[in-house]
Every structure is written in structure tokens, then in C-alpha cells.
Amino acid sequence: YPLFQRGGPQLRIFRPNFFMLAVRPGVPQPEDTVQFRVSMEMTKLDIRNYLERIYNVPVAAVRTRIQYGANNKRNHRNQRVKKPDYKVAYVQLGQGQTFQFPNLFPEKEQDSETRSFDDFRDKYMEKEKQKEEGDPRRGGVPDWFGL
């Protein structure tokens, strides 16, 4: 950002090129805290203004940290492959609002057709496996073993 000096104009950014990604927290967070992955150049003020002006979300507090991406993996040429760094923002919502990250992959209710098809498929796989096993009276000993 251009340096601010006393008497200079206020820096205003219209239509910013930043993107904020709301993520599911890895560790349980308090109810009013939302976790975002933001661009490395965004500051706490940027995040606050972004959410308040564009999305009308009341923001009480913002805390940020930079997550270092590890550099331990090696590719087929034995060169180190770096995972990219990213900035994580913890935003506490104002006016007593709460946020719970939604479950994006809920279990769908199966109707009777799919359930019966699944049962049929499981039974068929069981029969195939039994055919492969061989005579149960031999106790797991293979067929080629014998006199």
C-alpha cells in the first residue's frame, strides 16, 4: 500500500481483488468466531472493512496469523516441494451473532429401491467371496496341497 503521510488522502480501494474463503475450523472455536483463509496482503482493517461494507456483517474483532506451508515433500527429482503459505483470520461477530460451519456432505435418505439394490449387491459379493475360498472342510489349506 502507498505510505500515508499527514495531510494526504485516505486510501480507498473500490472493487478489491481480494478473496476470503470461510473454512471449517480444525479445532473447536467459540460460537461467535468464524475462520477465514485470506490473501497474504490483507490486514485486519482490510478484513473488517471487507466484511462490513460488502457483506454487511457486523465485526467485533479480527485476529490474524500466517500459516507456514511445509517444505518437506520431495518430487520425483528429489527436489523439495513447498506447500503455499496462507493467512488465517479469526473474526468475532458483533451484536451477539453466532456462526456454525454447515455440514456440506449430509447423509442422504435412501429410498427402498436403492436400499434393496445395495442389499442385493452385498449378498452377491458375499457369494462370490465364498466361491473363491474353497472347501471349508479343508480349514483354509490351499487346493494344490495334498498327495
Partner: protein, 456 residues
């Protein structure tokens, strides 16, 4: 031959052993072998509990309080530093869960009942300087060196039964005007507003009021007024699993430390009376399942200190009143600009709860109580949190020190904190006049200072 002799000896020996002499004393009652207890060095849960029990016995058996405190805070590990004056949102809820405190709005009924009679025109009392512990008798005529008040000294005509509100109001107004109007101060440095005017005003107000009221409250006459003292307390509460490091995977108690610097503090030799009985239940303690680091609260490892403002040998070992000044970072205007109006009161409450818990718990440790040896009588202290204009009053009763995981299981006691909202003492200071002076706030302050045990 020898065999025959041996058999005879054997037979006689056997008979001697199997003989039962009637009337002989039974074998001695003390056991022949030491008691079978778990090993102290094995890598097992029984060994861990054995080590903890041995540590508890060592602390119980310590001869002096200093030795107990030294053993209690000997092991240093990373701990959460709890700041009473914090910008964290909803900090007072978290602090209540850490200290097992119930917050009751308003002042306890005892304080309202013991209201001293107030008269508008009463006898002229003496006005003295900072109270010395019993150095100057309040009834003796004295010439005060009050530079700002420029009052003429008059011999006291005995302890007046009525409190002169006009006199008290003029004392407060004089202190305020001297600091903000009469004294020619330059502009305050950046972010040093609170040290410029409200700090000296608070010191002046408290010292003059305490000296004024020491006539009718002999406890104040024997008290000790500390300027910018240090109050520290270290405690365990709850359990967590260690995440990183060579101790990963072990279950550790969650350690907290408060390092507080109140602006002023009054310590007295006798304890304030209890407000409600020890086992009373006045509300619920909030339970927060998240780790304290989500508040946000940060861990650091340093000395585990327990301190009330003076060392153990000091005769004034009980607390009376603390006065806290909020820093510039937590001013009302800043919160209003950030549109966090509801957090203004949270700041006062968190400051009151944390500081008073640390002070009362440290006082209890100075008397030899700790988490394994819970308090047998409640410890009561008061605090006034202010930012120069707005005053909030808090009264804390410590009923239990047992906050560790084992001791909290069967402990129904809770600590109680009574607190008011912040009220302004005056509206504005203009041209040598204080506009909109609020007498109730001053009266509450006076009631706080006049609080004393029933025997006195």
C-alpha cells in the same frame, strides 16, 4: 543316637512353640511390615497419584507460610497470563468460569443497610493528609498541609454522628478542580491521558477521603495505603492434554497467573465481615467448553508468584479496598467508535472479578489455605474501577480456593461477586465549577471506605 536326640529336641521345640500359655499378652499391635503403597517412580497412573499425594503432604507439613508458598509455586510450566484489564470480548464470562465466580448485579444488602446517617449542615471535621497507621490520633487538633484545599484547620469537636455531605462533596470537587483546572498542565503525551489527570485525581480523592473518615472508622486509621502495588496469584483449574513438545500426550492441569497493578490499595489488619454464609448459592457459574486460548489468552512460563501487596510478615494482611484506573486503550470513546457499546461494562466487570479474585485468594494463601486446604471462613474485599469520570463498585467474597480437577468434584461452594454498572461522578468541569455532581456515587464510595468488622 544323635537322631534320637535330635528328634527329642525337635519334639520339645515343637511343643514349646505350639504351647499356648493362658493369660499371656497378644502379639504387638503394630504391623511387622511397612504399608504397601504404589511406587513413586514407575510410569503408571498410580505412581503419578502417589507423587501428587506426597507433594500435597509436603505442602501440608510445611512449617511457615513462606515455605508453603515456595513449594506451591516451585514447579514452573507454561501458564496462561490472565490480564484483568483486557480488550477481549466477553472476557468477564470467561473469567467467571476460570475462577468459579457468580456475578450478582447491584450491591449486597448489608452495604445498603449500614448506611451512615447523612446531614447537610454538620460539624466541621478535620481534614488530614494520607492516613498513617495509628501515627496521628484523629481527634487531636492538627494543622493539615492540604495545599490544594487551602482549608483552615479547626479542632474536632468529637466524632460527628452525621456525615457531612457538603464537606465530602467539597473535598471531592476540590481534588477534581485542582487536578483539571487550577493546576497548569501541558497537553498530555499520546496515549498517556489517564496518567495526566484522572490518576492524580483518584490518588488525591482517596487519600483525603480516607484521612477524613479515619475518625469514624478506626480500621482506616490502622490501615496501610499502597500506591501502585503489585498483586499476583497463581492457580490451577481444569485439565488439558499437552499438544506439542516432549511432554506431548500427557494430561496436565491448566495453569493461570494474574499479575495486577491496581492504582491504589488499602490493606487493614482485621478482616472485613462476611456478606453471606460460606455455603450460599446465589447463581450459576458459566461453563465454557473451549480452551482458554480462544479468548484469546496466551501462555508463558515465568515465576509463579502469590503476593497481596506486602510480604507475609506485614500486620496489615487483609484487604479492604482496591482502586483501579482503566488505561487509555480501554476508554469509552474507543469502544463507541468501534461500535462495541456492550463491551464497556464487560471491561469494568472483568477487571473487578479478576483483580478481586487474585487479591482475596492471595490473602487466603497468606493465612495458610490453598486448594487442598480450603478456606474455613470467607474472605471479603472491595474494589472501585474507574476511568476518571465513571465509577463502578465491586464487592467480592471468596468462599473456595479448591479449583483443581480433583478438589472441584465435591465442592458445592462458589465465589460471589457483587458489581454495579458504571455511573458518572460528575458531568463536566467548566470554569472552576463542577457541573452535575452525583452524590450517590460519592456516598457509595464513602460507604465502601467506612466498611469495617462488627467488633470495631
Amino acid at each position: 543316637m544323635a537322631a534320637l536326640g535330635a528328634r527329642r529336641l525337635l519334639r520339645t521345640g515343637r511343643r514349646w512353640f505350639s504351647e499356648t500359655v493362658p493369660g499371656a499378652p497378644s502379639p504387638p499391635a503394630s504391623p511387622l511390615y511397612p504399608p504397601v503403597v504404589a511406587s513413586a517412580t514407575a510410569k503408571s497412573k498410580a505412581a503419578k497419584s502417589q507423587r501428587l499425594q506426597r507433594f500435597n503432604q509436603r505442602v501440608h507439613a510445611a512449617a511457615t507460610v513462606e515455605e508453603k508458598l515456595r513449594l506451591y509455586g516451585k514447579l514452573q510450566r507454561p501458564k496462561y497470563t490472565v490480564y484483568p484489564q483486557t480488550f477481549a470480548l466477553n472476557a468477564d464470562r470467561w473469567y467467571r468460569s476460570f475462577t468459579k465466580t457468580v456475578l450478582v448485579p447491584g450491591m449486597p444488602p448489608r452495604a445498603a443497610a449500614a448506611k451512615p446517617p447523612v446531614a447537610v449542615a454538620g460539624t466541621t471535621p478535620e481534614a488530614g493528609r494520607a492516613p498513617e497507621p495509628g501515627a496521628e490520633a484523629p481527634r487531636a487538633p492538627q494543622a493539615p498541609g492540604a495545599a490544594e484545599a487551602a482549608k483552615t484547620s479547626e479542632p474536632a469537636a468529637g466524632a460527628a454522628p452525621y456525615l457531612d455531605m457538603g464537606e465530602l462533596r467539597s473535598l471531592a470537587c476540590d481534588a477534581l478542580l485542582q487536578e483539571s483546572f487550577y493546576q497548569n498542565k501541558k497537553r498530555p503525551f499520546l496515549y498517556r491521558d489517564q496518567d495526566h489527570t484522572p490518576g492524580p485525581f483518584l490518588t488525591q480523592l482517596v487519600s483525603t477521603l480516607a484521612a477524613f473518615l479515619s475518625g469514624r472508622n478506626p480500621l482506616l486509621a490502622a490501615s496501610s495505603l499502597d500506591l501502585n502495588p503489585e498483586v499476583n496469584y497463581y492457580w490451577h483449574h481444569g485439565e488439558e492434554v499437552v499438544v506439542h513438545g516432549h511432554r506431548k500426550g500427557r494430561v496436565d492441569p491448566v495453569r493461570f497467573q494474574i499479575n495486577d497493578n491496581p492504582h491504589l490499595q488499602i490493606r487493614v489488619p482485621k478482616q472485613l465481615p462476611e456478606v453471606v454464609p460460606l455455603e450460599s448459592d446465589l447463581g450459576d457459574v458459566p461453563v465454557i467448553d473451549h480452551k482458554p486460548s480462544k479468548l484469546p489468552l496466551f501462555k508463558k512460563q515465568y515465576e509463579n508468584k502469590v503476593f497481596i501487596g506486602s510480604k507475609v510478615a506485614d500486620p496489615c494482611c487483609y484487604g479492604h479496598t482496591q482502586f483501579h484506573l482503566l488505561p487509555d486503550k480501554l476508554k469509552r470513546e474507543r469502544f463507541i467508535r468501534q461500535r462495541l457499546e456492550d463491551q464497556i461494562e464487560v471491561v469494568y466487570r472483568s477487571n473487578g472479578i479478576a483483580s478481586l479474585f487474585a487479591w482475596t485468594a492471595a490473602q487466603a494463601m497468606y493465612q495458610g489455605f490453598w486448594s487442598e486446604a480450603d478456606v474455613t471462613r470467607p474472605f471479603v474485599s472491595q474494589a472501585v474501577v474507574t476511568d476518571g469520570k465513571y465509577f463502578a463498585f465491586f464487592c467480592y467474597q471468596l468462599n473456595t480456593l479448591a479449583l483443581t480437577t480433583e478438589t472441584i468434584k465435591n465442592n458445592p461452594r462458589k465465589n460471589i461477586c457483587w458489581g454495579t454498572d458504571s455511573k458518572p461522578l460528575y458531568d463536566v468541569v467548566e470554569d472552576g465549577n463542577v457541573k452535575g455532581f452525583n452524590d450517590e456515587v460519592l456516598l457509595q464510595l464513602v460507604r465502601f471506605l467506612l466498611n469495617r468488622p462488627k467488633e470495631l
